[in-house]
Each structure stands twice: as structure tokens, then as C-alpha cells.
Amino acid sequence: MKKLFVLSTLAAMVAAGTAFADTSGKKIAFSNNYAGNSWRQAMLDSYGIVTKKAVDDKIVGAADVFTTADKEVPTQAAQVQNLILQGYDAIVINAASPDALNGAIKQACDAGIVVVSFDGTVTEPCAYRVVVDFKDMGKQEVEQMAKFQPKGGNLLEIRGLAGTSIDDAIHAGILEGVAAHPEFKIVGSVTGDWDQTTAQKAVATILPSLPDIVGIVDQGGDGYGAAQAFAAAGKPRPTIIMGNRQDELKWWKEQKDKDGYQTWSASIAPGVSTLAFWVAQQVLDGRKDIPHDLLVPYLAFTQDDFEAALPKIKEGGVATHEYTQEDAIAAIKANIK
């Protein structure tokens, strides 16, 4: 009987431990280096919605957002140092530079602060990195392409901003996908810088020299520009993989309504900021088993669900997804194995 009592108390304690996380007094700061484009605005919006609720529900004590005036490294390094002085327990950061903030990040870790970086991640080993699996995204583009173009054919690749790790990873994934699908052949490659205007110009320039193209694999933010270039040249419309931008999905819907056009869309959700927030909360909760490099899924839309998402995206914006605490726990679990 006594044993049973002890056991049940223990069980109650365990249950209490999971039901009431002891992070209610913890303060989490968000250090952001730039707010000047639609992706970053969506990122801040999502973060604001999720953290406000988390504070109201008393899951965390405070979640404040700090944006630097310029995109510069020293400003953000100073900001991180000030957040250390402010006594925050964790810092979620979208960093201006992968390396040059390491000094400040190390100081934060030494002061016992949990640092979780995302999007603009940092290389300092003591910090956590929430990284979207861009390589898989690139590979998946070719897999999807194989569904729409079962006979295979020539592909055009649109690259992102040169010299970034994101461009590198997506490109590697696309190459891997093409290796697995020998029916496809990349016959041309241009740089679109994740920008519709740049992509349109680049595609229009290379188009006259290309053989017939069945599909375009790209990195998001460039699909609509490519479609415009093909239309302007009077060439047949290929299968263009989209990148969750509002203009891209709108064009997709127009084409679908016209003749049942099929494609696929994927990109990193700006709401990944909220996932980083929950990871920070989980670390503060005392979880010791969280890997420092967390690979999380990208946000994808298919022929069936993109129309439902379209009205929710702001004009000129990008599709997002707000993550929940459960999503974060699931993502951590997926990375532990």
C-alpha cells in the first residue's frame, strides 16, 4: 500500500512536470538583424502571434523582439551583449553573419544563456541551429517533376544568391534528384537571386539558346519571373516548381483554372522563427537530449491544397506556418534518432 502511494505520488509528480513546464518565469529575447522585406515581416508577424499566446498562457515569462537599425554585424553583436546584460534566459537569433557573431554568441553561452539560431544561423558550437532541409527540398523538386513529366526531358535550373549555404544545399539536392532520375537532363542554369525580376531577366537571356524545356527547378521567389519570361518569348509553358510566394501561387491558380496546369511549391516558412522559439523553450525546460543541429521540414503545397492557402497570404507576401510546442517536440524527436 505504502509502495503504491509512493508510486502514485511519483506518477503525479511526473505528470505535473510535463503539464506545467517550469519555464513560466523565463525570458526569451529575439535578436533580429533586418526587417526590410516581406519574408522578414512575415517572420516577425508569426513570431509575435505565437509568443504573445505563449506569454498569455504563462508558458514563458516574456518574449521580446529586438531589431537592429542596420544589417550590420557589430550592431547585432552589441545587441546580443546587451541582451546578456538584460538577464534574458534564452536568445533566439536570425544572425547577420554565420561567423562574425561568434564572439558575442560565446559570451552569451558563457553567461548561461541558451542561444537558438535559425535562417541566418551561427557556427559557434554552443548555439543551437534550426536548419531547414534545403537539400531534401531540391531533391523533392525533381521527384515531383518526375510525376508531372513522366517522360522526362530537358530542365532549366534557376540558382539563388551565389555564395550562400542555402543556394549550395538546394543545388546539391537537385543534382542528387537528377542523378536518381536519368530521364531528366539539366541543359541550362541561371542565377535568379530569389527575385522575380532578376530571374525573369536571366531566363529571358538564356531562353533563345536553349532546346525545348519541359520543366524548371528553382529556389523560390523566381518561378513567377520565369513564367513571365517564357510567356514573353512565346515559348510553351514548362512545369515550373514554385516557391510559396503569393504571386507564384496566384499565377498557378490562374493556369489551373485555365487548363488544369499542375505543379508543386515549396520553401522555408518564415514561421520557422516560432519553431526556434519553442526549441529555446524546450531547452530551458531542462531537456538535455536536444541535438545542436536540428533539421526541420520545409513548407510544401500540392495541387490539392495550394488554393486553400492562397487567400491567407498577403499581397506580395509568402506563405507561412506557425509552429506549436507539439510541432517542436516532434521535430526534436525526429532529429534524435
Partner: protein, 326 residues
């Protein structure tokens, strides 16, 4: 006046007293604004007023102070350097790559870059070019070179530099000692030596200097070389703190350095500058821009604008007070 010698002596000393008082007030002004910002920080976040707090808040002010001193040399010759920020970035990239892997080459490049600064001074003087145009052009050259040296962010600071910048002396935080040292050395050199007077005179009254037989070409070269030297020190200090470099790391320093000189009691023309004031001005700007703002809890949408507003308020206060003083 020379007709009544006794009267002149009396009036002269009174005028001299008034002038001395004005100069004293003027000298105290930067210190006063620094004290105000510190008080505000102490009120908003008492935890920051500690050894640890000062070390953290002020260590990034050291490179700003050095860049401000560099700008001050240029300004004392009635010129303006719009390239100091990207120059600091270029030095940072060299520091994180060459200076670590091949120290001799690194030192040679940095010495060479100071040489280029000296040549710029000569060019501006000989061809009578506006320094704003020349240095604006150079800012793109330095930026381009920085990207060539370090196309992707990375590199690592030399260990000895890291050791210097993370030095923890007893009782007084390192950034404060460094600031005192910089201010003392430059103050002695520019305000207390006879050649320092010549250097300032080249901005104050170049015609008189030339008539007295001094070479204005030489003073301009020396001023620009000194600017280059302190720019190099600034870039190295910055990399010692951040541990690794980025081609764009120093871009914001150009305007911060100019604001620091003005806040520290300097004038754009006339060779009127103050090294101690410039260092204090740089510290004030570094504190006002970032810690104060972070501690105030301004909503994110307003933070960028608030940063600019604080700078304007601090600079406007200096102009207001110094005008009343006259």
C-alpha cells in the same frame, strides 16, 4: 587698443578668463552627455552598471573610438573621410586571414594600406580635389578588396589579438582602460606637442602656416597616414572582439565616426578637434545607440527609427548647449 596699454591688459585677462571658461564648458560637454546616457542606462537596467556590464557594453565601443580618432585627424585638416568604415572592414578581413596565416604578409598589407592613405592625402592636396569625392570613391575600392580577400564571411582572428581583446584586468574593465589610453596618447600627441599644433593649424589657418614656411603637403600626408593607422587599429580591435570577419563588418563606422567627432566637441572646419572628446563621443554613441535602446523595450516596428532619433537628440543637445555658451 595699443594706445592704452594698461586698459588692454585688464580687458585682455577678463576676455581670456571668459574664453577659458567657455573652453572648459565645451570640454565638459561630451563628458556630460556620456554621464546622462550612463544615468539613463543605470536607471533602466542597474545590472549593467558592473564590471561585467561595462566590459560587455563598451568593448565594441573601442573599435568605434579608434575609427573616430582616425576621422578626427582627417577632420582637423578640414577634410572628411567617407571611406573609413569600409577601410575598417577591409582591415578586418586582412586581420582574419593574412595576419593569422602569414603574419608578415598581413603586416605588409596593412602597412601598405596606411601608405595608400598617405598617398590619398597627397593627392587631395596636390590636385586640390574635394576629399568627400576621393574618399567616397575609395570606400568602394576598400569594399571590393574586402570581398576579394574574404568572399564568404569567416576567417579567424590571430590568437594574440583575441588574448589582448579579452584581457580582464583587476577592478577596471579593459574597454575603459583602452579608452583612457587612446585618449591620453592622442591628446598628448595632437594637443601637447609642437608638431601637433602645426597639424591642427593646417586646418585652422593654412595660409598663415604656409607663409611661416611649413609644408601643407606634409601635414596633409601625416594627417591621412595617422587616419590610416588608427583605421588599422580599429579593424584589428573589431576582429579581436568578433573573432571572425565579414566584408561588410565596418560599413556603419563611417557615419558613427563623424558623429563621434562632432559629439566630442569637434568642428567640421577650423582644426578645432578634441581627442578626449572624440573618445567620449564614440563611447556615448555606442551606448546610446544600442544598450539604451535595448533596455528601453521599444516595440520592434519603432526600434530602427528610435535609434536614429536618439542620435539626433544627442547631437542636437550638443549644438544647443554649445550655442548658449557663446
Amino acid at each position: 587698443m595699443s594706445a592704452t596699454p594698461i586698459d588692454t591688459g585688464f580687458k585682455g585677462s577678463a576676455a581670456r578668463n571668459a574664453a577659458a571658461r567657455a573652453r572648459l564648458l565645451r570640454g565638459l560637454l561630451p563628458a556630460l552627455s556620456l554621464a546622462l546616457v550612463l544615468l539613463a542606462i543605470a536607471w533602466l537596467n542597474p545590472r549593467a552598471i558592473s564590471y561585467f556590464g561595462f566590459s560587455l557594453m563598451l568593448n565594441l565601443a573601442i573599435p568605434i573610438a579608434l575609427a573616430t580618432i582616425a576621422q578626427m585627424f582627417v577632420i582637423s585638416g578640414n577634410e572628411l573621410d567617407l571611406s573609413i568604415g569600409t577601410f575598417v572592414g577591409f582591415v578586418g578581413c586582412v586581420t582574419a586571414t593574412w595576419l593569422k596565416d602569414a603574419p608578415l604578409v598581413g603586416v605588409a598589407i596593412l602597412a601598405g594600406s596606411i601608405g595608400i592613405y598617405a598617398l590619398l592625402g597627397a593627392l587631395i592636396h596636390l590636385r586640390n580635389l574635394p576629399s568627400i569625392v576621393v574618399t567616397l570613391g575609395m570606400s568602394f575600392v576598400w569594399q571590393g578588396l574586402a570581398i576579394l580577400v574574404l568572399p564568404k564571411p569567416g576567417g579567424k582572428a590571430p590568437d594574440w589579438l583575441l588574448a589582448i581583446m579579452s584581457f580582464k584586468p583587476l577592478f577596471i574593465p579593459f574597454p575603459i582602460i583602452a579608452a583612457l589610453l587612446i585618449a591620453a596618447v592622442v591628446h598628448f600627441g595632437l594637443m601637447r606637442t609642437s608638431y601637433g599644433v602645426i597639424l591642427r593649424g593646417s586646418g585652422g589657418n593654412p595660409a598663415a602656416l604656409r607663409r611661416a614656411g611649413w609644408s601643407l603637403l606634409k601635414t596633409k600626408i601625416v594627417l591621412f597616414a595617422l587616419a590610416g593607422l588608427f583605421g588599422v587599429l580599429s579593424g584589428m580591435a573589431l576582429i579581436g572582439i568578433t573573432t571572425s570577419a565579414d566584408a561588410n563588418i565596418g560599413n556603419g563606422y563611417t557615419l558613427l565616426a563623424i558623429a563621434g567627432v562632432i559629439l566630442g566637441g569637434g568642428e567640421f572646419v577650423g582644426g578645432r578637434v578634441s581627442p578626449i572628446g572624440a573618445v567620449i563621443g564614440a563611447l556615448t554613441l555606442a551606448l546610446a545607440a544600442s544598450p539604451l535602446l535595448t533596455f528601453m523595450h521599444i516595440p520592434p516596428d519603432w526600434q530602427v527609427a528610435a535609434n536614429g532619433a536618439i542620435l539626433i537628440i544627442v547631437l542636437a543637445a550638443r549644438v544647443l548647449i554649445s550655442r548658449r555658451e557663446r
